[in-house]
C-alpha cells in the first residue's frame, strides 16, 4: 500500500505515462492492442459503403433460408462469438465451425431450430445503406465457406 507522497507521485506518473503510451500505435505499422492499455483501434478503422460479415445460415426442408443466431455456435458474449466465427473462416476451418453449429442445433432442447436440416457458413457482403434505408438484407455477394448437415 502506498504510504508516502513520493511513492504516490511515482505511481501516478508511471500509470499516466503507461496509459498514454499506446497513442503511438496510431502512427506505426505493426500495431498491438493491449489490455488494459489500449489505443482504441476500432475508432480509426476505415468504413466503406459495403460491409463483409461471416455469418450462419440455416436451410429448412423446403430450401428456405433462416438466420442462425451465433449463440448456436457458442453461448458466449456476442462479440466473442462474432470474432471467433471470423477467425474460423480466416483459418479455413469453416466446415469445422458449421459442424459445431449443426451439432448444437441437433442437440438443442428448445426445439426452435428443429426445422433446420443444413447449416452454411457464409461470407456476406452487405450494402449498408440498402440494409437500413430500404430494409434490403440480401447480401450483394454471398460466398459459402463451409457447410454441414444437421444429423438428428
Amino acid at each position: 500500500m502506498i504510504q508516502t507522497k513520493k511513492a504516490a507521485a511515482f505511481i501516478s506518473i508511471m500509470l499516466i505515462v503507461i496509459t498514454l503510451s499506446p497513442v503511438v500505435m496510431n502512427w506505426v505499422e505493426d500495431t498491438v492492442d493491449e489490455f488494459p492499455f489500449s489505443y482504441y483501434p476500432m475508432f480509426s478503422l476505415q468504413r466503406s459503403a459495403v460491409y463483409i460479415q461471416d455469418h450462419l445460415i440455416g436451410y429448412d426442408g423446403n430450401g428456405g433460408q433462416h438466420v442462425i443466431p451465433c449463440s448456436y455456435y457458442k453461448p458466449v458474449m456476442f462479440n466473442t462469438a462474432r470474432r471467433q466465427i471470423n477467425k474460423y473462416v480466416y483459418l479455413g476451418m469453416a466446415d469445422t465451425l458449421a459442424a459445431v453449429v449443426a451439432r448444437n442445433i441437433a442437440s438443442d432442447p428448445s426445439g426452435e431450430m428443429d426445422h433446420i436440416v443444413r447449416v452454411e457458413v457464409v461470407k456476406g457482403t452487405f450494402h449498408i445503406d440498402n440494409f437500413f434505408r430500404h430494409n434490403d438484407r440480401t447480401p450483394l455477394e454471398a460466398k459459402v465457406e463451409g457447410s454441414a448437415v444437421v444429423q438428428r
Partner: protein
Amino acid sequence: MKTIINRIHHFWFEEVPAERLAILRILSGLYAFWFLSRNVLYLHYIAQTDPVLFAPKAIIRLLPGPLHPDLFLGIVLFTLVLNVLFIIGWKYKITGIGFAFFLWWVLSYRNSWSMLYHIHHLMILFVGVVGIARSADALSMDAIWRVRKGKEKLPGKHWQYGWPIKLILSITLIAYFLAGVAKLAGPLGWGWMFTLREHVAIDTLRKVVLGSDKASTFFPKIYTQSWFFIVGGVGSFFLELLAPLVILNKKAGKGWAVLTFAMHWTIFILMGIRFPFQLSGIPFLTFFEPERWLSNLTAKRGQKKFLDA
C-alpha cells in the same frame, strides 16, 4: 516554477475524506461482482473454446497454453471471494491489491480468445488504483475493527485519499482522449465526426446478421435522420479531444462528466451499444463528492426518524 509545482502538489494531494475513496471502492467492487457473478458460466464456456482460437493478451502470455476450463473456473470463483473481501474491506492490505490482480488476470484470460473487449479497460484501471490505495480506512470491516479495538479514531481528511481519486480521474480523461486521437489519426481524420451513423450501422448490421437479440430496434428507425448522427458525432468528438482540459477546472470537470454519462446512455438507448461500467456512472463519480450525498441521505433519514418519534 515553484508556484506551478506547488499548485500541482496542492491539486494532486488534495485532502479529502476517507469516505469518498471508500465509496468508490464499494461501488467499483459491487460493479465487478455484478459483472463477474453473472458471467461465471460465460467465462467457463469461453475457457472451453477450441485452443486454435487462443490468442493470449497481457499477463496471459506467460502461460504456455490455455488452462483446463475447470481450473480457470476455480480462479474465477476465487476472484469472486476476493471481490467480496474487497467490497467489505477486510484485510485490505492484501485483499485490495490481490483482487485487483486477479480481476486483471481473469479479464485478460477472457480477452485472450480472439476478442479484446474495450469495455473493461477503465474498470480494471479503476479497481487497480483503488486496490493499491488506502481505500478501506472508512466504511469497511478493517475500519470497524480498528475503532472497536481502540487502535484508531475514525479517519478525517487526508492526502492519502485524494491522490487515488485524482489518478482515476486522470486515467478516465486520458482514455477518452485516446479514443478521440484514434478517430483523428484514422483515415477519416476530422471527417470522422460525420460518419458516426456508419459506425453504428456496422455494429447493428453485425448483430442482425448474426441473429443477436442485442441489435438495436430503434437505430433503423432513426437511420435517415442524418442531423442526429452529425450532432452526436461532433459532440462525442469534442468531449473526447477536450477531455484532458477539464482537469483544470472542477466545474468543467463536473459538466464533462454529466455530458459524457448522458452520451453513453444516449448511445445505449438509441443505438444499443453498451459500455456497462460507464453506464453505471461509477467512473464519473471521481468528479463529485459522493460522501456528501451519503451524509445528506443519512441525515434526512435521521431527521425523519426523529420527527416520527
